[in-house]
Subunit: 224 residues, 2 copies
DNA sequence: GCCGCGCCGTCAAGGTTTCGTCAGTGCCTC
DNA sequence: GAGGCACTGACGAAACCTTGACGGCGCGGC
């Protein structure tokens, strides 16, 4: 049985999640603030954590860092509309996805399933394959329709960062720092240019990307 | 370093083997079913294969046959108690030894060492052949159109590094360090000169290389 | 509703780095 | 002394990174 830890200080949300998740066969634990959330993570070892960023005691990124320090369970962040910078900070700190409050239960459940599914086959896979192309991380090779695709060094690095975290939203800042270096955290123009080049080389319809998705205001996501 | 490929569909066993083998200095690759096991064998060229007979997709003997078709690495079979006829069939198909599940890690490691030790004297290097030439790693000979090609020691070392990893991209730094030594990681000019010489001796059209490919900014690749 | 603003995608051109090639020098062996 | 090999320098060509300009789109203010 998949176990979920819900960390939120609003009783109504906690109750709603407990009812819905239990009804769908999840084992549910709850905590009402950051400190007890960390304690509950250590105690119950949940398969996935749903974390509200607006907790009374600790900053959301600190809670994420506290979990990530020793545990790799996926973290799904809940956040009120408008706190964009908090969401970006949460993703940079190691969260896997976010849902904006107020949220639909269906959406949250879908993202929850996706997070759990992603975590199951941990990244031990040297080659990632989707319907239209495949990426061999070890050989540094991309094949599309049986034909090798030539990527420049920058294109390859960018693709590699995204592909190594399938389904996960990666912020522009993080991408820039991993590919160009820590001094380039705000040169978002580079990203637009190179993501466009990757899409032109990999996507069936570059104008309507299917794998290299843009999350406006947040970053990019490789969708397997 | 001795490399081991573990093919098993039970994550717990894969994890346990990965941890124990890595701790003892083995290089470990894993696969979760027969098809990816065969692919991983071709890709990583392991020194020994640990193969579970109860895979979801292919029959164990078929996997053994698929490996034995071109590779002589020893195969250690894992099998549940009671499937005696399956074990016999596996040994008949070309497996070298078997261990009954549940197994003790010490026993498995002992059998693994034995299998590697037995295989060591019978070490035979393959010869890589493409349409226009063939490279005999053991004899250190290259033949093109039936005529032996003379290579200088440096040319041979460079070719050997590339040919031993077919299809895989090798960075300039890696090539330089393997051929010239660790202090020459940035003398990229050497590479250009010697790659050009190899192409002149091996490629049908040295100006448009077909086997010794340049990946601008990244390195070189031997394309079989 | 309309407009300005910010974010994103596209294209093209410049300057820079990297690559391929040729030719030449020095060293060692025979 | 002849020959083979490793290494170096120079130069044109190709590939790449960066940058700027422009248009589309969504969103919030007026």
């Amino acid at each position: 049985m998949t176990s979920v830890l819900v960390v939120d200080d609003e009783p109504a949300i906690v109750r709603a999640l407990r009812i819905n998740l239990s009804a769908r066969g999840y084992e549910v634990h709850t905590a009402v603030d950051g400190a007890s959330g960390l304690a509950a993570t250590a105690k119950h070892r949940p398969d996935v954590v749903i974390l509200d960023l607006g907790l009374p005691d600790l900053d959301g990124t600190d809670v994420i860092a506290g979990i990530r320090g020793w545990n790799s369970a996926p973290i799904l962040v809940l956040s009120a509309r408008g706190h964009e910078e908090a969401k970006v900070a949460a993703l940079d700190a190691g969260a896997d996805d976010y849902v904006t409050k107020p949220f639909g239960m269906d959406e949250l459940l879908a993202r929850l399933r996706a997070a759990v599914r992603r975590a199951a086959p941990a990244e031990d896979e040297p080659t990632v394959t989707v319907a239209d192309f495949s990426v061999d991380l070890a050989a540094k090779r991309v094949v599309r329709d049986g034909v090798p695709v030539r990527l420049t060094p920058t294109e390859w690095q960018l693709l590699e960062v995204l592909v190594r975290q399938p389904g996960r939203l990666v912020t522009g800042r993080q991408l820039l720092q991993e590919v160009w270096g820590s001094a380039y955290g705000s040169e978002t123009h580079y990203l637009r240019v190179y993501v466009a080049q990757l899409r032109r080389k990999l996507e069936p319809d570059p104008a309507k990307p299917r794998y290299l998705l843009t999350e406006p205001g947040m970053g990019y996501r490789f969708q397997p």
